[in-house]
């Protein structure tokens, strides 16, 4: 049994990581899941969160904002925006939260009487805020 699998993390602008991984912890929209070799074939969407990759050389963390993951013989994560966690400082993080907050406010205006999209946007914002605690930054709590 193979104990590693091919893992690719790509964003539209570049390829962030392509390596043999032992396990990948993915922030799925329905909850976190960890993909290991021979995982059942799955496609899941992502929520904003921290993606942890365990390779032979150690673990790497990335902040992703959304996208989807395809788990098969290989694992590919196609993130809308992905940054190595070490590169995310308070300022970039605050910009991300502000962006989510803006999106939330806008959805609230556009879909005034539909709770569905508004709740989704609110959840997205909360996830974004939670990312801060995960990577040891001061979580910025926007006023809702």
């Amino acid at each position: 049994m193979a104990d590693t699998m091919q893992f690719d993390l790509v964003s539209p602008e570049r390829k962030l990581l392509s390596a043999q991984a032992k396990s990948v912890q993915i922030p799925g929209s329905e909850g976190d899941l960890t993909a290991m070799p021979n995982h059942a074939a799955t496609i899941t969407t992502l929520r904003p969160g921290v993606l942890t990759v365990e390779t032979d050389k150690g673990t790497e963390k990335f902040v992703v904002t959304g996208g989807f993951a395809e788990i098969g013989e290989t694992v590919s994560v196609l993130a809308e925006k992905a940054l190595p966690a070490a590169d995310v400082d308070q300022k970039t993080y605050e910009a991300l939260v502000a962006e989510a907050h803006e999106a939330y406010k806008q959805t609230k205006v556009t879909f005034e009487n539909e709770p569905g999209p508004v709740d989704d946007a609110a959840k997205l914002l909360q996830d974004m805020v939670a990312v801060g605690t995960h990577i040891g930054l001061d979580p910025m709590q926007p006023s809702l």
């Binding site: 570049r14 969407t45 809308e80």
Partner: protein
């Protein structure tokens, strides 16, 4: 015959033009490399994305509940043409070729009795289309302030298009851009983005049948989530291809211009030398005949 001073001025001015075109060529070459790198870097994402979409689309298929972005509105009466061009000229036939393709399409659609709407990205396409079809314009996206194309730019354009689609402003959207083959060849291309058509190759078909994916959440929710992203991704790819094509076209246009300027300088120099020679000969004849007359 032009006098010597005129010729001299002419040569000096062509020389400075050559300097400028040479510089523009070098700048375009440097930018082309960057644009190509960017296009290269975006390819893995687009490829994976399309593969997944193809297998998803194949498995959801033509069921009645398929999202409208995939299945379409069932009509093709109102067509939105999104014309992506450059913000600057001086790049050979690059902008004109894209516009020409778009115009051919407009004529074809109008002939078939469809309503056409135009959305332009990039100043040059707007200028060229505005002359004939100003009544068809529904919008324009200005990218002249953008230094480096980012996914965000594509997302904004996609958002604009999608909100128009949701409002029922059009049935079919097609984007026009130039595909980058090489420095000397760029193909103007039309690509339909809404309803999305993902090529289901035999491979992806087989893929969809053999690998039973688990979907989290369910297939249709994922599809609904991914389709808007697909539009953004396709536009992003098109923008990057366009950027590379623009620089490639500019590079070869400027290369030609530089060479032409060189040829012109050579010709003018010969002419200059000849007339100088003629002037000298004339003067000599005058002196000699003057001396003989004495």
């Amino acid at each position: 015959m032009p006098n010597l001073k005129d010729l001299k001025n002419r040569i000096a001015s062509v020389k400075s033009t050559r300097k400028i075109t040479k510089a523009m060529q070098m700048v375009a070459a440097a930018k082309l490399r960057r644009a190509q790198d960017a296009a290269e870097a975006s390819r893995p994402y687009a490829e994976r994305f399309n593969a997944v979409m193809a297998s998803l689309a194949a498995s959801v298929g033509d069921s009645d509940t398929a999202p409208r972005l995939l299945a379409g509105t069932g009509k093709d009466d109102v067509q939105l043409l999104v014309v992506l061009t450059a913000e600057r000229g001086l790049c050979g036939g690059f902008n004109t070729n894209i516009v020409k393709l778009a115009k051919a399409k407009i004529a074809e659609l109008k002939g078939a009795g469809k309503t056409v709407k135009i959305l332009t990205v990039g100043k040059k396409g707007r200028e060229q289309l505005k002359r004939e079809y100003s009544d068809l314009f529904v919008g324009h996206v200005d990218l002249s302030d953008v230094k480096r194309l980012g996914y965000g730019d594509a997302q904004n354009i996609a958002k604009d298009i999608l909100s128009r689609f949701d409002n029922g402003e059009f049935d079919v959207a097609t984007i026009f851009f130039a595909k980058f083959n090489s420095v000397i060849s760029q193909d103007p291309t039309a690509l339909q983005v809404i309803p999305a058509s993902y090529e289901t190759t035999d491979e992806s078909q087989a893929d969809a049948e053999t690998s039973q994916y688990d979907y989290e959440p369910d297939e249709e929710a994922i599809l609904a989530d991914l389709l808007p992203r697909g539009v953004a991704t396709q536009i992003f790819t098109a923008l990057l291809e366009n950027a590379a094509s623009e620089q490639g076209a500019r590079m070869s246009a400027m290369d030609n211009a530089t060479r032409n300027a060189g040829d012109m300088i050579d010709q003018l120099t010969i002419e200059y030398n000849r007339s100088r020679q003629a002037v000298i000969t004339n003067e000599l004849i005058e002196i000699i005949s003057g001396a003989e007359a004495l």
